[in-house]
């Protein structure tokens, strides 16, 4: 078995709360990513997906504590915290933030802001950097003569493209995108998603798309993990998630998403709210809201179990499934 490009193993993140106590935001998240793969990290607000993603880059505040491993090409980059993760930032793993459109320095030209990481990480200098920045801009669909313009002269969609160019400045292997199209119109969203897919293909770039928008993941990703209350509820190919979900939350989340094609099918909401993460959770975190909860759910925490080829789920409904033989 070849080493995956990126592997998260049992990632846990705690935040110290100002009044004392801890918020356990990420509770044992594991998944793997291969080169060139498009992976979705899906969940609603507060499920820990953004925190998990920030952990991969080590971009956490001082009140955060991490446990578990994030292995890049087999090496645990979180082993000694900032010291081991910073050499990989931007060089190997880069990120496009939510609201990246507004993350530009208004008094610096867009071109120079794309060159900046090249200088910082000693990738290129001077004229070479300038040329590479212009090429990147062209690649993301911005004419290179716009490199000398300022961010306010760009529209929202163009700025998002520029943010993607900036993320690619040091030719990373992995691109993390946090809600990259959330604030964009549906047509611009389609353009940006198309861009991300083509970039992933051309540069053999692995893509982790973090979003709450299930249909976006359905259209763009090969595999996805659905997160709930800081844990992975289910992880599988996107086809399996929709057609053969093994966790009620996955099924209900899809059912709660209206779809153009669904005709008269009822859209359901999921009653209740996610559990608090500053207290210990007993049993399955989804149990209070689950429509299929039964005896063990309230008291026993379900383990993430293999329920098919590249398909894991943490639900007692799968308890009868014996571990299939590994391929």
């Amino acid at each position: 078995m070849t080493t995956p490009l990126l592997a998260l193993e049992d990632l846990n993140v705690w935040f110290e709360l100002p009044g004392g106590g801890e918020l356990h935001a990420v509770r044992g998240v594991s998944f793997e990513l291969e080169a060139g793969e498009r992976f979705g990290l899906v969940g609603e607000s507060g499920c820990g997906k953004t925190t998990a993603m920030l952990s991969i880059m080590g971009l956490l505040p001082p009140n955060a504590t991490i446990a578990g491993e994030v292995r890049l090409d087999g090496e645990n980059i979180l082993a000694r915290g900032e010291e081991t993760v910073s050499p990989h930032r931007w060089n190997d793993i880069a990120m496009v933030f939510q609201g990246a459109m507004n993350a530009f320095n208004p008094v610096q030209t867009v071109g120079s802001q794309i060159e900046e990481p090249m200088h910082l990480h000693d990738v290129a200098e001077g004229k070479l950097a300038r040329r590479q920045a212009e090429e990147l801009l062209e690649r993301v669909g911005i004419p290179k003569d716009r490199a000398n313009r300022f961010p306010h002269e760009f529209s929202g969609g163009m700025r998002q493209r520029a943010a993607i160019a900036m993320a690619l400045a040091c030719e990373p292997k992995i691109l993390l995108a946090d809600e990259p199209t959330t604030a964009l119109d549906v047509m611009v969203q389609a353009q940006i998603l198309e861009l991300l897919v083509s970039l992933a293909a051309d540069f053999n770039l692995a893509l982790i798309l973090v979003t709450h928008d299930l249909p976006v993941v359905a259209q763009v990703c090969d595999r996805a993990a659905v997160m709930y209350a800081g844990e992975v509820a289910e992880s599988a190919s996107i086809d399996a998630l929709f057609h053969r979900p093994k966790h009620p939350y996955t099924r209900l989340l899809f059912a709660a998403t209206p779809d153009l094609r669904a005709g008269g099918e009822r859209v359901a909401s999921i009653p209740g709210a996610p559990p608090r993460l500053d207290k210990p959770i007993v049993g399955c975190p989804f149990q209070p809201r689950c429509d299929s909860a039964f005896a063990p759910c309230a008291t026993e925490t379900p383990l993430l179990k293999k329920v098919g080829e590249q398909h894991v789920a943490a639900c007692h409904l799968n308890d009868h499934v014996r571990e299939p033989a590994t391929a």
Binding site: S45, G48, T65, A67, G81, D178, T182, H212, R276, V282
Partner: protein
């Protein structure tokens, strides 16, 4: 257009949660937490207590001559005697009352004028705004000391006049601050909603805008107290103060007039100056921390590189 980034610590708390109910940005929240706020408040409280208790602490006439002119500090008179042979300690205590009284009242006058101008200009906009803001600008430009001298000369030297003069000079920054705040609150969705359902201007101002603006006004008023006390001090120092009352500024003026420096009588000059400094410091500390906490600038969460901690992994299914 979906839910914004939730800071790590704010994620996933259940809906109805009364325990976490303290509203960020309320005055109580700040006053009880920030060390600078506590320090400032302590200083002000101390002086306020002195002022309130001064009739008890000082029996008889503090100006009474009890010893030689500029008598040095001694056991019975810890801060010595002034140019008229009166006990400095008693004079200071008596002066606390006046200085603080003028300070607070003038600050209130300023706050009232500034607050009203700010709210009206910010809420109504248009011509009202232009007229009020131009007026504010004119007041800003007028040099305060010459104005005070002229006013004192014209209207006589009484406490009331001083309060009014100070009040009338210092309302301008308040007006600007409040106007800016009102402009932003006016655009908030809940104000628009109230307007959409037919609420009149009065209701919008008093029920929706003023409560949002009040904390900032309070914070600003505390700062105004600092300005006002200082203003009173130098008005009195210039000899324009009310001759019939004792204030710290008056004490300093007297000391200068009686040649305290020539007599090396530092105890006649420094203590009153120190009192003024301390009160102004206290009010500024308290006022600044309030303003910092209440200023509607959003706290920006920084994704800057920081030192997070790494914990060795414990057993996989520990219920944390």
């Amino acid at each position: 257009m979906s839910a914004s980034i939730q800071g790590g610590a704010a994620a996933a708390t259940e809906g109805v949660d009364v325990a976490a109910a303290r509203r960020p940005g309320s005055i109580r929240h700040v006053a009880l937490r920030e060390p600078t706020a506590i320090a400032g408040l302590a200083i002000i409280t101390f002086f306020v207590l002195v002022a309130i208790l001064s009739p008890i602490l000082v029996t008889g006439d503090p100006k009474e001559k009890v010893g030689p002119i500029f008598g040095p500090p001694s056991a019975s008179y810890p801060l010595g005697l002034d140019g008229g042979g009166a006990n400095m300690v008693e004079l200071l205590i008596a002066g606390t009352r006046v200085s603080l009284l003028v300070g607070f009242c003038a600050a209130l006058v300023s706050a009232f004028i500034g607050g009203t101008v700010g709210v009206l200009a910010g809420f109504y906009g248009g011509k009202t705004d232009v007229v009020l803001m131009r007026t504010t600008d004119y007041f800003l430009v007028i040099p305060d000391i010459p104005l005070m001298i002229v006013a004192a000369a014209l209207f006589g030297r009484s406490l009331t006049n001083i309060i009014i003069i100070i009040g009338v000079i210092y309302w301008t920054t308040t007006a600007r601050l409040i106007r800016a705040q009102v402009l932003s609150v006016r655009e908030r969705v809940y104000v628009k909603r109230a307007r959409a359902l037919g609420a009149g201007n009065g209701r919008l101002i008093f029920k929706h805008i003023l409560p949002q603006v009040a904390p900032l006004l309070v914070a600003n008023t505390v700062l105004l107290v600092a300005y006002a006390i200082f203003a009173e001090t130098f008005i009195s120092f210039l000899g324009l103060g009310d001759p019939s009352v004792i204030s710290w500024g008056r004490l300093i003026e007297n000391a200068f007039n009686d040649d305290a420096i020539l007599n090396n009588a530092w105890w006649a000059i420094i203590p009153p100056g120190l009192c003024v400094t301390l009160v102004v410091l206290g009010a500024t500390l308290f006022g600044q921390s309030l303003e910092d906490a209440l200023n509607p600038r959003l706290r920006v969460g920084h994704l800057s590189v920081r030192r997070f901690k790494v914990r060795p992994l414990r057993g996989k299914l520990d219920s944390e």
